[in-house]
Amino acid sequence: MSAIHVTTTINNDATEFLCAPDETLLDVLRDRLGLTGSKEGCGSGDCGACSVMLDGRLVCACLVLGAEAEGRTVATIEGMAVGETLHPLQRKFLEHAALQCGICTPGFLIAAKALLERHPDPTEEEARYWLAGNLCRCTGYDKIIRAVLDAAAEMREAG
């Protein structure tokens, strides 16, 4: 099994790596590139803790092969804040205490960002269904949903 050389863009950085043919993008991010913000909760696409954007689409990095990243763009939680400035979603998660243990938080933030890019004014129900693939066991989702809707409102006002 020989390694595959992949050239890709991660969080706007040109990146190269070698990976095994059956190695997932999640393993590459975490084990080869040190981007451990994406978490593995299940490895089967059922928990959303490894959510990343692949060419602008929300995906589970555990269900993408590293080799598939060739020539594509990947965005992870590590690229969400700009310098010292948190994304409004990140800020609202803090303000609303939308995390307890925090393990699901990166995945929720990536998924919520994808939601607000497509639906800047989601209803509570739309937000709940969009985020149904992200499991949280601590919060009961209440404060997460409030944070997402509040961030959406702030982002709409900011235009």
């Binding site: 095994a20 975490r30 981007l35 451990t36 913000g37 994406s38 978490k39 593995e40 909760g41 299940c42 490895g43 089967s44 059922d46 928990c47 803790a49 992870t76 939680i77 590590e78 969400m80 804040a81 948190l86 990140q90 998660f93 803090l94 303000e95 609303h96 205490a97 995390l99 307890q100 243990c101 925090g102 393990i103 699901c104 938080t105 990166p106 933030l109 509570e124 129900e125 937000a127 709940r128 269904y129 985020l131 149904a132 693939g133 992200n134 499991l135 949280c136 066991r137 601590c138 919060t139 009961g140 989702y141 209440d142 404060k143 997460i144 949903i145 409030r146």
Partner: protein, 749 residues
């Protein structure tokens, strides 16, 4: 040092406690920087993997690791033969659970482990290990395991409480209560007898178990892991491996949920032994499949209840016989279930009998108020059925029978001031209780209780030269406790919250701390933090008095500064914490306060939940329409995180009520070892969870804090079941109320 300043709870005006500042570890957790168990790495690190039994019960005749050892890239292979012998029975069980001895006792039981240069090599090596199993008859159901001819897991391990002649799988019998049950039942207008069942559930933390072990040739070892208690990990691993506790330093990572499931060890002793053998650091991470098959789910139960009630709603007697299987080793939480079952009620005649049973399932671990939710499901369902049967308001019936100050608790002691009645009255006054319901909709109410406790706790509080403050404590922050500790330190010192930073120490930096469990952290660590701050204040008073050349008794601490107690002591402008800190070197050296205590005196906590459900009568699907949690928190230090505990516990309970269950096949193997078919609630399953925080101060804590984390999972099972019964007219006595079960009941009506 006397912890004598406990009485200001309730009358004190707080400046910081009770507000909602941002948590200090928050930015790291929203940017992906926070390091959880699997995020650790070390130079030269190997990857460990575990071979697990595919059999629910089997003699292990032999294990041949020759081919695995010969595989290039494999650095160590261990089986039980590599572990020392352990005498202590409890530790021996933990070891046996981490690595099977003569027998594999459940599907997923570890039988061997390897450390290799990569995960791929490690997985390949596992396939090269040949285990010769002789499969044995097995049992996974609690009632089946209690039959005298059931396959026995262990020969003669029952303790002295078990009468002779029972199944060898019965490990212990517990009995609690007072009064005369038969006399009480005779006074009832109706005696309800019902049997209930609940299935095993899993804590469902999103972060799988993970650790990184590094053992040097000198025997000094370091371990990084996600755990609810680094000291517990240290002490348990040291006992299993025959190490001295001081030679093993355990550093907790951030923890991605625990709920009781991370109060023991699974991988850690194995990783340490692999590292020792390989001479390299070894990292081990469970897959989700391993988490379900081989960590510590909770008990499944079978419970018989007899309750007598008069037609005006007075409970005349309560009896319950509870059977809990706790997996392959003794120690199911049936004792806690038996003690808590009737705790919310003031009963003259009450009795519970609990049976601790072993089966071919993974060794149970604590799960949030261990043992209590199932017992509450049975009792709260029966009370509801009786109340509705008499046409009484189930909330009024609970109020009529509620335990209050002076009530002799069903488990023995007399209650001091408690908040159950307050939660019931708040529920009655809440708009939820009187909101209209539509067709196929129903409303349920249920109460819950948890003991809470304190335990060994250390806090070290340091005043830095610039007047900021660091707090070191020994309990992993599982849901915002760093914020709570910083708030209590800042409150006590009279400085802004932002000036305090709380960190979680490794085992080398503080004395023994009990696990983050039992809803103990805000209570016990909070108490120790306040005492540490008071110690620092005493020292600062001394320093200021020295500078002013007056007696230490002549100064007081007020609003973050030392002041002369009266004009007689001289005219000195207040000396602030920062000013004293700046001259610490000149006045005797660095200033710190610390507290080491076994924090007793935790206050019990009660809650009342209201659930509205809508049932699709053609499919049995249940939708949660509205949900309200009302609970006594003593004093809510950070209300956001108190609400978060209420909401999270309620939703775990909702999952338990509706969909979550361990499903074993006829082959004794777990059929749903993944988040696809072990169905924890998702965001679209739920409404907002309303919360009402009641504050009946705990006199045992300086600020009145009670534990809040566990009680919220106790009422939901019955609250949901009662709501479904109200909506459909059929009563489900077997959880989860999965659609096939409910539809069958509706169609049989």
């Amino acid at each position: 040092m006397a912890l004598d300043n406990k009485t200001d709870a309730g009358k004190r005006q707080f400046k910081i406690v009770g507000t909602r500042p941002l948590r200090p570890d928050g930015v790291d957790k929203v940017t992906g920087r926070a390091r959880f168990g699997a995020d650790m790495s070390a130079p030269g690190m190997l990857v460990g993997a575990v071979l697990r039994s595919p059999h629910p019960h089997a003699q292990i005749r032999s294990i041949d690791t020759t081919r695995a050892r010969a595989l290039p890239g494999v650095h160590a292979v261990v089986t039980r033969a590599d572990f020392p012998t352990v005498d202590d029975a409890a530790i021996a069980d933990i070891l046996d659970n981490c690595m099977a001895g003569d027998k594999a006792l459940y599907d997923g039981h570890a039988v061997a482990a390897v450390a290799a240069a990569s995960g791929a090599v490690a997985r390949h090596a596992l396939e090269l290990i040949a285990v010769d199993y002789a499969p044995l008859p097995f049992v996974t159901d609690v009632d089946a395991a209690m039959k005298p001819d059931a396959p026995a897991l262990h020969p003669s391990r029952a303790d002295e409480t078990v009468p002779p002649g029972l199944s060898a799988n019965v490990m212990a019998r517990h009995q609690f209560g007072h009064g005369d049950i038969e006399a009480g039942l005779a006074a009832a207008d109706r005696v309800l007898e019902r049997s209930y069942r609940t299935e095993a559930t899993h804590q469902g933390y999103i972060e799988p178990h993970a650790c990184l072990a590094s053992v040097g040739p000198d025997g000094k070892a370091d371990l990084w892991c996600c755990t609810q208690g680094q000291y517990m990990v240290r002490n348990t691993c040291a006992a299993i491996l025959g190490m001295e506790q001081g030679s093993l330093r355990v550093t907790p990572s951030e923890i991605g949920g625990g709920f009781g499931g991370k109060t023991t060890v699974f991988l850690e002793p194995v990783a340490l032994l692999l590292s020792k053998k390989a001479g390299r650091p070894v990292k081990m991470v469970m897959s989700r499949d391993e988490v379900f098959r081989a960590s510590g789910p909770t008990a499944s139960t079978s419970i018989d209840v007899r309750i007598g009630m008069t037609k005006d709603g007075r409970i005349t007697a309560g009896f319950a016989e509870l059977r809990y299987q706790g997996g392959a080793y003794p120690g199911s939480p049936v004792d806690m279930g038996s003690m808590s079952a009737f705790a919310p009620y003031d009963l003259e005649h009450v009795k519970t009998i609990g049976w601790d049973v072993v089966t071919n399932r993974p060794k149970q671990a604590a799960y949030r108020a261990p043992g209590a939710p199932m017992a509450a499901f049975a009792v709260e369902s029966a009370i509801d059925e009786l109340a509705r049967g008499f046409g009484l308001d189930p909330l009024e019936v609970r109020l009529k029978n509620a335990a209050r100050e002076g009530t002799r608790a069903s488990y023995g002691p007399t209650f001091p001031a408690i908040g159950l009645e307050a939660t019931l009255r708040a529920a009655k006054d809440h708009p939820h209780w009187s909101a209209p319901l539509g067709p196929n909709q129903g409303r349920g109410v249920a109460c819950g209780f948890w003991f809470n406790f304190g335990g060994d706790t250390c806090v070290s509080l340091n005043i830095t030269p610039d007047g900021t403050v660091t707090v070191s404590e020994g309990n992993p922050d599982i849901g915002g406790s760093r914020a709570s500790m910083s708030m209590m330190a800042a409150e006590e010192l009279g400085i802004p919250y932002e000036k305090v930073r709380t960190i979680i120490a490794d085992t080398g930096s503080l004395g023994q701390n009990d696990v983050t469990d039992g809803s103990r952290v805000t209570f016990a660590v909070g108490l120790a933090t306040i005492e540490a701050a008071r110690a620092a204040k005493r020292e600062m008073c001394k320093r200021a008095a020295q500078v002013w050349g007056i007696d230490a008794d002549a100064v007081i601490w007020e609003d973050g500064a030392v002041r002369p107690v009266s004009p007689n002591a001289g005219k000195h402008p207040p000396m602030t914490l920062a000013e004293i800190a700046a001259i610490a070197s000149n006045t005797g050296g660095p200033i710190a306060g610390h507290c080491e205590v076994n924090a007793e005196g935790a206050g019990v906590s009660f809650g009342t939940h209201i659930a509205d459900t809508e049932v699709d009568p053609e499919t049995g699907a249940v939708k949660i329409l509205r949900y309200t949690v009302l609970q006594d928190a003593g004093k809510a230090v950070h209300p956001d995180y108190v609400e978060g505990q209420f909401q999270g516990g309620a939703v775990q309970g909702i999952g338990w009520a509706l969909n979550e269950e361990y499903i074993y096949g006829d082959d004794g193997r777990l059929q749903n070892a993944g988040f696809l078919d072990y169905r924890i609630p998702v965001a679209s399953d739920l409404p907002m969870i309303d919360t009402v925080i009641l504050e009946i101060p705990n006199p045992g804590h300086p600020y009145g804090v009670r534990g809040v984390g566990e009680t919220p999972i106790v009422p939901p099972l019955a609250a949901v079941a009662n709501a479904v019964s109200h909506a459909t007219g059929v009563r489900l006595t077997h959880l989860p109320i999965s659609p096939p079960r409910l539809l069958a009941a509706i169609r049989a009506k």
